[in-house]
Symmetry: C2
Amino acid sequence: MKIENPNPIQWQFSERAQGLQSSFIREILKITQRPEIISFAGGLPSPATFPVERMKAAYDKVLSETGKVALQYGPTDGYAPLREWIAHSLSTAGTKILPEQILMVSGSQQALDLIGKVLIDEGSRVLVETPSYLGALQAFSVYRPEFASVATDDDGLVPSSIEGVAKGARLLYSLPNFQNPTGRSLSLARRQELVETCARIKLPLIEDDPYGALSYSGEPMPKMVAMNPDGVIYMGSFSKVLTPGIRLGYVCAPLPLVRRLELAKQAADLHTAQLTQMVVHEVVKDGFLDEHIPTIRTLYGNQCRAMLDAMAEHFPAGVTWTRPEGGMFIWVTLPKQIDAMKLLDTAIAARVAFVPGAPFYANEGETNTLRLSFVTVPPERIREGIAILGKLIAAML
Amino acid sequence: MKIENPNPIQWQFSERAQGLQSSFIREILKITQRPEIISFAGGLPSPATFPVERMKAAYDKVLSETGKVALQYGPTDGYAPLREWIAHSLSTAGTKILPEQILMVSGSQQALDLIGKVLIDEGSRVLVETPSYLGALQAFSVYRPEFASVATDDDGLVPSSIEGVAKGARLLYSLPNFQNPTGRSLSLARRQELVETCARIKLPLIEDDPYGALSYSGEPMPKMVAMNPDGVIYMGSFSKVLTPGIRLGYVCAPLPLVRRLELAKQAADLHTAQLTQMVVHEVVKDGFLDEHIPTIRTLYGNQCRAMLDAMAEHFPAGVTWTRPEGGMFIWVTLPKQIDAMKLLDTAIAARVAFVPGAPFYANEGETNTLRLSFVTVPPERIREGIAILGKLIAAML
């Protein structure tokens, strides 16, 4: 039956597909998954935090009680009770978020793709933090924008620097809480200034918030979406507070935009799995996250402290780093003359891994930066790995 | 905390987003979900076929034995054992399909989006059947191609008509088995001619095959991908043979293309849920589908026969229809003067629903056509609904 085919196709890819590149981090992860390596490279949450039994019980309950509905096609916007729960959780005394503003997505990475699809034309200006989340740069890049980097300092994004680069911009992408990759958070004053600036110049502001709940101490900061629900697009995720492998996130946007995102979602994959949404609703509806999230905070907080203490002890003078109060990452700045990519080569030979910082910049990257994650490594291994890194850095000075 | 915002944003959507429209079918479904309506409009499989207990047992087993892995992030290309199972199931005596050729996706609708993203530039020519699957037209439309319709007759797509419209085309999209919306299938001779023609002119051929396993009698037809694995992109789905609500499908493509699709998938949603893939592998790996699919064929075959018999009895002369040997749909052609959209108005008033055919055409549609689905309606209700439709059609003549 097979035909003779002497001239196979030379595939002609679309212009947008020609620039597609694999995530640099995913490539590093392949190298560093060997068990003998102490890996600070991962961006994965700790499996120790996954409530497996609770999830199992919820799958059993949902399939037993409403299996035929859970396994059928569902609405594109998502499972209504879960959307109501999310809208309620985002609402504040001053700002009511409507369930109609919530679109369920297959992990918040999908929200980035849909936002890019709906808001970015080729050559559109898109503002991002310096540095920014690599997955967002990847998702938006498909739609071929012109990235402009907004200045940041130790307190995160600098709102006063926006207007200088905002002309014609379609959106500003921000990660205000325990940012990936830097671990930095925006102060309340900066949040207000940021929201006000964007509202004044009518610039859509994206608030990507996968880590907001993971504060090690004190109350989580107010969300920017509550300050201006007509101008802020909020992205949330169950990946870091429940489990990532189920792929469930959501976007909360002003009604004209969320309806357009819903249409894009319909064309992209019809809807996110009903069963997943019903199970997550079953798990979260009676307050489970209120008990569960503190256990994640404690685990990550302890490991973060172990890493910060080890860095203070082992890293040579001239190296600086952020001191996150939540989330999953620490950002390290090496003396100018050290290339983090070269350090990675020697580190892997010494069985320690991290992610160099340069790929996180939309434009020119700082080659003397790197990202460390502490969430999947126990404290004694953290100390061991940081001591090795400290020696390698010292040797390069 | 909320700011004053007297001038809300006038959202500026991307050019591609300005044309996004809700699926006409989804709009009709909203109207026709009232229980008093006999709906032949749906494209949903019958929940009576969902193996709920089997799925429940598999979720329990996977979460009990490998919960931490199932709930963690996973590889973009998919769960390796499931990809191996699929590659094996697509391989034939003459053609070996490699697991590396398989990319798991969140329902085969996502494969359409990724294929569009990777192969279609604005203005690219895309060939589709006349009529074609609405979801594919929607997915591709986002990338703003120029559609060209390939002629079809009672035996489906006419291969000899391809070359006349193929100049510069990026792909030909076909649904060779029990096509949605017509229920037509391509003969073996046409499949071979189609594959040979596309290979000769180096035109990528998409074989979308959600219904292929649902043949009421006889063996399923050979797959075109086995005739030319270097030029055919095969799309498969678990939606119609297992359950749709979990959102799991796959694409099998030549290696250079599948790697590019994988990069697009990574940017779009990182990966499809690990848990879902592990559960489906658990369900299918020991041959469950070999027992299960015949029960779906029997149910759908009986209901299809009931509908065809009722149409023969109740539809007036001048109405013609397809006689599917599998799948979920019958396609009806009314006398030229009847507009199916007007018929739908009177039908809904009489509590019967269907989908008018015009939206299924990429270019100008035949307004005297309609699609009937029989899979979710029991035989006595089928007879009742068809009798009503027959009277309404007669009244319009």
